[in-house]
């Protein structure tokens, strides 16, 4: 897809800003500036992206095409108060922040939300990361859609309500799943075993839903209604009330969901 060359200002120098900056640079956009209140962070990312570092919001270049606010949710509001960009395109990258938080910064605003957990150390193939877009008007959407398609194979128009639903769904499917892996690791450790023994099974569980609904892939004692095994497991967890309660609630939820879908 042909993408028009854009001048981008990155507001933020954390994981999301870093990965986005690299992806935009790769797709031939220019990163004019990197803003961070911390000089070292601004310098570090700016030097990778051949951009100018800034630590003062007043020195943000007014000559950019797209301003990307990639900072922690709770500080967006403070930055927004200091940004006035007339008709420039301004977006934030947050899953949980309403688009309208930007309405006083410019008449052309939106959300550019990449659906991924970024960590600085792990390299990421950006092409595979879905990007959810929302915009205050059609022209802004078009501009965002164009740069998003340049870096990702999956770009979706998603309104603020849907974006919130995606975020809460991601908490269940990813944050909470990871915590269940951590519980498994803890249980194994207490029995002098390593999580390694479960890794192929964890991988297979995630692989199976690539082409199947997880509802149909459900297995295990709760799905089979195997009360004997569930009771034995609860007994084993007697000294871990927290795990026991989770085991009960998750098993009940599987049984409920099974009945609902019969």
């Amino acid at each position: 897809m042909k993408t028009q060359h854009k001048k981008i200002i990155l507001i933020g120098a954390g994981n999301v800003a870093t990965h986005l900056g690299l992806a935009f640079k790769k797709s031939k956009h220019t990163i004019l500036q990197v803003y961070s209140p911390t000089k070292r962070s601004a310098n570090a990312l700016a030097s990778i992206l051949n951009a100018k570092p800034v630590t003062d919001l007043k020195k943000i270049d007014q000559d950019g095409d797209i301003y990307i606010i990639a900072i922690k949710d709770d500080v967006i509001i403070h930055v927004v108060k200091q940004l006035r960009l007339k008709d420039k395109i301004v977006v934030h990258t947050s899953g949980s922040t309403p688009m309208d938080i930007l309405k006083n910064t410019s008449k052309n605003y939106g959300v550019f939300y990449p659906l991924q957990t970024f960590s600085k150390s792990k390299k990421i193939e950006f092409k595979n990361i879905p990007i959810c877009l929302e915009a205050s008007n059609a022209d802004t959407y078009k501009a965002l859609d164009s740069i998003a398609n340049g870096i990702s194979d999956t770009v979706r128009k998603v309104n603020s309500k849907q974006r919130k639903a995606i975020h809460v769904a991601a908490v269940f499917a990813c944050n909470f799943s990871n915590h269940l892996y951590a519980i498994a690791e803890q249980i194994l450790k207490e029995n002098k075993l390593s999580l390694d023994i479960l890794k192929p099974l964890i991988q297979e569980t995630a692989d199976k839903i690539k082409n199947n609904s997880p509802l149909k892939m459900q297995t295990g004692p709760a799905k089979r209604g195997d009360k004997k095994i569930m009771d034995a497991h609860l007994k084993m967890l007697a000294e871990k009330k927290e795990y026991q309660q989770l085991y009960k609630l998750l098993s009940q939820s599987i049984i409920i969901s099974d009945k609902r879908n019969k």
Copy 2:
């Protein structure tokens, strides 16, 4: 690794029996018989494995080397009562059944537990599936270790208590994770979205723990202590008391585990 050619009797014709039978055949063992009380099941698997089908336990060939009981947990006891095999090696493949259930069938008995959820339709690379072994004596262990190494790259000696811990850990890491995927799918569906949008993130979550402890990979609102987002999510889930309760309990558990490991 050099494996001695063995004569194997499969008791059971379901998913586990099928996958084990195919793997043993591939590693040049002979499957003498396949037992199932259902004639059609016995015939179907026996014909794939060039074995003889039997539907009567009394007709089980006494000339085998290893007898593998791969049937549902709650029927193992009934089959075991009818099996008397002197000094032949007898194993079951269950994660939750004690080894001693076999002690009257032979003096050489054990457990041969492949750690995987098998489904008939999905082809599986057996080499990657860990096998947990337990045996009543050293010679039996050696024989089981030899055939297990012929079909899998990961063979572990695991006692009955550890095996139970592995099973409950697998319920957390796999059965319950899959249910969380199903909850995510349901939340997305109610907002006219498909689970597809979360699949790269789910995959990345499972990938990240290949080389890192899940404890260190934890992300999300609970990990950050972001009460504002958690409250907003709980409010969104107000009409789904079951999901709301799970969200609360899992978030609390992440917070507890975070404190415990600081």
